[in-house]
Symmetry: C2
Subunit: 249 residues, 2 copies
């Protein structure tokens, strides 16, 4: 699953850029999901007076509205983006206005000043209104998402890598970098996605609460034994977190 974000202030062309990108990705036969951050203090998707609104007001802590053609799960809190992405398994996921991520980023902007406020090593393209006046800024291509969407999506295909684990800087660094640092290096062409050494053998074993170190060979055998069964079960998709407990109730 490849994840990227589009950031920019209101009216800079953010949603239009995303619409065009999604349409083009779909045209190329990818599955696509999206997450939209809403920075409007009073945002509430449910309308006063609906039955689900009445459930929540009475004290229901998690409310689902299920219609004939949709199922809406309404969490009464701001989940972090990693929690949200656990529900996704599309080829590409676009994040709109999401801040708590190190995913590769497209900036939309009116002008250079807005770009300057947002640019960092995670940015691989610039779009939005500024694309009418500029073609490149500090080595980052500026692309019009209306007239040149193919070019922008070519760049997404080229640059956006399989989602990194996004461990906090202190937590893993098994490759020598934080996930953010490795991501920036991948975009620059100084590292590869495969340099993240947490691959499919990312498996941990504890016996009576003591973590057991396993050489890669044993890790691989245990991984294959577990996944040979679990991958066939409903509820599993690639990248799922799996936990198995034996001997405890």
């Amino acid at each position: 699953m490849k994840v990227f974000s589009v950031r920019g202030i209101t009216q800079s062309g953010k949603t239009t850029t995303i619409e065009n990108i999604i349409k083009e990705l779909k045209k190329r036969r990818y599955s696509v999901g999206s997450v939209k951050d809403i920075h409007f203090e009073e945002f509430a998707i449910d309308q006063e007076g609906t039955n689900t609104y009445r459930h929540r007001r009475a004290g229901s802590e998690l409310v689902t509205a299920r219609g004939h053609y949709e199922t809406d799960i309404l969490f009464p809190e701001k989940l972090n983006v990693e929690e949200i992405l656990r529900f996704y398994n599309q080829d590409f996921v676009v994040l709109e206005g999401v801040e708590d991520t190190n995913a590769p980023k497209i900036i939309t902007a009116h002008d250079v000043k807005e770009v300057e406020e947002r640019i960092d090593g995670t940015v691989f393209a610039i779009s939005g209104r500024i694309a009418n006046t500029l073609q490149e800024y500090k080595g980052v291509p500026v692309i019009n998402a209306m007239s040149d969407v193919e070019k922008l999506v070519d760049l997404i295909e080229e640059k956006v890598y399989e989602k990194l684990p996004e461990f906090s800087g202190e937590c893993c660094c098994a490759c020598g970098y934080s996930c953010r640092e490795l991501g920036i290096k991948i975009l620059k062409g100084e590292a590869k996605r495969e340099d993240c050494i947490l691959g499919e053998e990312n498996i941990k074993l504890s016996i009576n609460q003591q973590e057991i170190s396993m050489v890669p060979f044993v890790q691989k055998i245990l991984y294959n034994a577990v996944m040979g069964v679990v991958a066939e079960l409903e509820g599993y998709h690639k990248g799922s977190n799996i936990q198995i407990k034996v001997g405890e109730r």
Copy 2:
């Protein structure tokens, strides 16, 4: 997690009954979640013209709207109730108008005719408008959820059992019954929740923090796959507690 449903036609007092039950359960310090089925053909929680609406229209297959105080995950399909319940971990979950479940049931109705159309072995109480005129119907108590909510919630505490796996009739039947049949027997007092023998192998599997129910056959295969490797490792002895995690640190 204990799950029950409230069924009845429009204006029979369904949502009011649920509101009162939720409030009383909360007063008793339980955590509560709810699922509402909307039988209105054109139901769509998202409004035309919102950015998330634009995402979906462009082709996004899973859209999340995240505000400061809520996160709304909008699946573009009718998930089945078992899939929905994987997101829940409250003490009690109330289902409103949900048909694809064998959970214990409260009927709300205007009159005996409506009760007659809906009553079966899964019904443990009757409420709604009919409670103004009747106290019992064919051995099932009729309780007013406005004036007698304590009595109704006492009955919920007494009758509603820890959710059964809800495997289809052909699938498990390891206890000798389908989940529906066992549920009816539990309500009648002819069986106990513990008669559901799933869990005997003492192996538990979670995928993305959601516990996955496995029929005994699958439990056994997973148990053997795991133990075939782990039992050979230093640190293991018979009866050890084992924990395996894949994809997390």
